[in-house]
């Protein structure tokens, strides 16, 4: 995430399981409460379905599946709507937090021992008061080649 280092310093935070993640605020179109989705049978496991956002068809991504974090039963789900490659995606997450300022100097590199999937999707780590925030690159998150069938 070069843009980040150059001073895009605001991220939208959200939680999946116990982990907090951050997305550059500029990539996020809106945050909505979780919508009813239409299933897409036989699609990749991370595709939670399709939803209708004011007449636009949006692909919902199950972030638990995508980040390989086991799902808890009773979560109040939220959809973080992002745009990538002219297409809309709704990231289905457990909770959406604040928009946090991330000055470039607080951004730390990913630990070398991080597992392959996360290393491919995340761009860096920020230490917050209540834990670590992993920053996500939208394009890499939605790259089909790294998703499970």
């Amino acid at each position: 995430m070069i843009a980040m280092a150059e001073g895009t310093d605001e991220v939208v935070t959200f939680r999946v399981g116990k982990q907090w993640f951050g997305l550059p605020v500029i990539a996020v179109q809106e945050v909505i409460s979780h919508q009813q989705t239409a299933r897409v049978p036989l699609a990749r496991s991370c595709v939670a379905g399709l939803l209708n956002l004011r007449g636009q068809v949006v692909t919902a991504i199950d972030m638990h599946d995508r980040m390989e974090i086991s799902a808890n039963a009773s979560e109040s789900l939220m959809d973080v709507v992002v745009c990538d490659g002219g297409e809309l995606f709704a990231l289905v997450v457990d909770e959406v937090g604040d928009v946090v300022a991330v000055p470039p100097h607080t951004l730390e590199r990913l630990p070398a021992s991080l597992d392959g999937l996360w290393a491919r999707i995340c761009t860096g780590v920020v230490r917050l008061d209540n834990g670590l925030l992993a920053l996500i690159d939208v394009a890499r998150l939605l790259d089909e080649s790294s998703t499970r069938p």
Binding site: A38, R39, V40, P41, A43, N52, G55, V57, T59, G85
Partner: protein, 700 residues
Amino acid sequence: MDDLLKDFLAESAENLSQLDHNLVELERDPSNTSLLNSIFRAIHTIKGTCGFLGLARLENVSHTAESVLDQLRSGVLKAEPEVISDILRAVDLIKFILSELESHRAEPAGDDSLLVALLEQWLTPIEGQKATAVDGTTQRATAVDLAARPSSSQPEQPSPIHSSLRVNITLLDSLMNLAGELVLNRNQFLEMVSREDDSALATPVQQLNRITAELQSAIMKTRMQPVGSAWGKLPRIVRDIARETGKKIELDMKGAATEMDRQLVQALQDPLTHMVRNSADHGIESVAVRRALGKPATGKILLNAYHEGGHVIVEIRDDGKGIDVAEVRRIAIERGIVSRELAETMSDCRALRLVFEPGFSTAVEVTHISGRGVGMDVVRSNIEHVGGAVDIASVPGRGCTVRIQLPLTLAIISSLIVKAAGELFAFPQASVLELIRRGPDEMSGIDTLRNVRLFRLRDDLVPVVNLADALRLAERGADEVHTLVVCQAGGARFGIIVDEVIDSQEIVVKPIGRLARSVRCYAGCTILGDGRVVMIIDPAALAIRSGTDTSTLSPAAVETPAVPAAKPDSLLLFGIGHDAVQAVPLSLVARLEEIPADRIETAGGNLVVQYRGSLLPLVAAGPSVTFTSGRTNSVIVFNDGSSSFGIAVNDIRDIVDEVLNLELVAARPGILGTAIIAGAATEVLDVSYYMNRARGGMVS
């Protein structure tokens, strides 16, 4: 040529409108190379095109102006006011010639040597010559006079240039999307209003409904392209083949202005090229052979495009040797496409269609012109992919006709909404042949062969698959009470079991996102009136995926295996007036309908009836069939793969099981012969005869 000229005029008008401004700007800022380059390009484009269009006068002027601009670009000349004025004069003259071209379709007569000489002075940077430029003043005056001459007697007339506008394709696509969304929104309103008996919204929503429909059709029109733009390359291809093979071939193209959605025009291009190549290479005989047969030495290929009942029809017809049906049968058996029994019992029409099967190619020798591995199966799958259908007919020795039927647009289709395992799905109506509802005790119709389930549909065995199973939906679809959706795709028939059919409606096809697209069984998705997103099933892809594609099964297993010699046929008996009764094998019949005689119309001398949103051609089964106003006629509907037609009769009498043994051969057309049915001599109808009549005789 006219189209080219129109395009050229529109394009030049765009270029020229900027040119004056740019030149004046250049005068102020002579070092601005990007400005100079854009001026150069504008003039260069005009020069290039008018050379191509044979506009000598225009070419001469623009060429000279271009040369001067080139000198400016290379720095030999400086962009001084004198030079700029001369170029502006040239631009004025170009404008004048263009405006004359627009109103008279021809260049005006005139002599531009003065202006050309004026410009050429700048091209020779020799001291002595520069001096003459000074006393070019008088010449200039003349040149200006010429250029400034009023262009036409009626300058107020609206010109074609300003009545059309170039619009970006992406903008048109986004307009189409917006219209689609508006349709969905309207559907929501309509649904809301329909729930309340007496809503104040009823009238405005009705208005909204009308305006939306009009808007949608207007936007659809903006995306229309003449089908002729897909066959621009064909004359050249035919000419090359003719030269290479020493044949004489004439390509005749009709209906090039027939319009359809640009996406469909694109989809048509490759199949069309392929089939015209086929006709030229394999269809048309050599001059010597044609002479020997008493045919004209020059072979003809006719392309014909026209609108018919909400579809665009494109026909490729040649007067070559036609297709040898026996040869088609032989090859199909040899390549394992059909069983011998089936090949021998199927009608010629059906046998001919085997050429569309994968792995079939009739070319005895593969020449470098045609045998490029793109077979007719690819043609068919390309056409079917965009919701079209293709059919072939041939008369040996007389020629061959391929008929392509395409929808007008891809964006909005009529669909069948079904439910399977609690989820809704849409089927494109175009690929649905029929619906069969089965109760709990009617499962006997479905047999299992290894792991393939087959349904006995009249006399055919049709592979079936449960939609919920095929899509691996967790909850298993109900097998007890269900509906069988019989689909036709890729030349194969198969049934898909769904829990129930909910509705039939017009839907807007929306693309599915890239992460969901990797699954091949969807043709897209849509949003229903209640806001729900529904996947559109692509039946052909689903068939391949779930293994019901007949080509993956051994042919004998799919079609009725080893027909016993004296197997009884189900025969449909019907009356044709004057107490005469005829019979037709029930296996050929798609449906029976009762149609009020008043709904039967005449179009172009043929009987038609509006049926399921399109026109169904009708043929009366004999002269004694009567159409009495206020009464209904029975219509036997036949479906022949791609198209349907009906035979109108007086009434349906009975269905009997009888071994069909033709005892007397036909004495007149339309009758196969006479057989003893239910103890009485009964004439048996020749369906293929009526099919040809219903189509107005494809090969004449």
